[in-house]
Symmetry: C2
Subunit: 251 residues, 2 copies
Amino acid sequence: MSAVIKNKALELNPNVSVDCVIFGFDFDQLHCLLIDSGLSKTTGRSRLAVPGDLIYDNETLDEAANRVLKELTGINNIYLEQVGAFGDPNRMGKESDKEWLKSLRAEPDARVITVAYFSLVKMNDFNPEASSFAESAGWAPIKEIDELAFDHREILECALGQLKRKIKIQPIGFNLLPQKFTLSQLHKLYESILNKPLDKRNFRRKILNLKILTPLNEKQVGVPHKPSQLFEFNEENYQKLSSEGFDNFGF
Amino acid sequence: MSAVIKNKALELNPNVSVDCVIFGFDFDQLHCLLIDSGLSKTTGRSRLAVPGDLIYDNETLDEAANRVLKELTGINNIYLEQVGAFGDPNRMGKESDKEWLKSLRAEPDARVITVAYFSLVKMNDFNPEASSFAESAGWAPIKEIDELAFDHREILECALGQLKRKIKIQPIGFNLLPQKFTLSQLHKLYESILNKPLDKRNFRRKILNLKILTPLNEKQVGVPHKPSQLFEFNEENYQKLSSEGFDNFGF
DNA sequence: CTTTGAAAGTGTGTTAATGACACATAGCTA
DNA sequence: TAGCTATGTGTCATTAACACACTTTCAAAG
């Protein structure tokens, strides 16, 4: 990795980075992908962070975010959306942060403003071993995430807020589910994101009214209860709905 | 102005700027504050742009945006909200842009990513003469704005989009009106922002139901028609509504 | 001083969306 | 074959959204 950095060092912009809040769903809880920098020498605690990197001077911000995602998950063409810029001069001011930066960056003291993105990935598609990015990486349930490096906690809150607002208006949740899924899984997903219970029947009615789900001639197998109908996301009707501005929607 | 820049040159970050899309309302149309760089030597046309500047290394992004606003309008504590970061490597690639930058910046060729903000100002409070910022500055009706310098056209669109989305959910329009205003003025404002007609009676009902307007014991005077009731924005009830998440709302 | 023009202000009926709520069904397992 | 577990389904009451037209008040003009 350091070889890579050296080769491109001239193009690395020391002042601007991107950070990616990557959400995943395991049919039970909402998760976030975190990297681990290893143990801090001073505090002895591990530093968890959201993946991110300085940008290259010849790439757009979106390209940088996609690159980070690709490097980390190996996945291309993921749902990705900008959250905003974070630029407190002291955002990397903690001792343990500085320590980490020294081992990582050519100019560890440079002022860095970061542009945050959030992305939704199908946990199935992502193989955690594929990471060539950090010492280790893994999924953490959102509810169990405590302190993070830099201002990443704030970034995470902000990204989660944006996801909540967004999913109330625009059906983007499918990006977190496998291609074939059940309505209960979708229901659970919405409850996890919005962090509140939703009435089952009303939820089904609303989602089905959108006409963006295609029922398949397939059912769950091997479950110890009534097997449920599988559905597929219907890209075509979604486009139609999208062009109308997702008006008849709301949770 | 160049003296100011020289004094603080060491602290200026060459890679990050803020740009402020400043909206105003003249009781008829939505306007945007633009600065004029003077005539380009190559194209002979004037370069209009949204006000913006490189940030100092010891200020937050919000502070930078507030500073730019202060320098331009003399007004403090204005409604201000981040729109997002814009970072296309070619965003300042036009010849006329480069020409302008050379006259303006210590490192005119540096890659600059910019963080856009939008703000709402009461046009009454703003004295255009007060500007110490650009060769000239003035209000332009949104509908008449054509090409702008850099990627400012895109930034403007984006800010306007955010304003539209926001005002549907959160009653922030009062920031564009004087302290005392009529319902018709507010009505017109909403129509201008959303760029579509809204039914008068339904509009009045909805706004009044929010209970964030205090009717005053005052009426318009000197108008050649039935004088209308004046209202004032009620900060206290707004806070109450705010804490409930602005649920019962929507245009 | 009467007429005219111009915007303010006001209420109802219809339709669509929302939210609350309970029981029968299908498949697996013990 | 009895029991467990999650699926799947309909109605009613309430609330929000939308469409729509006439009277009132003032100033200005004649």
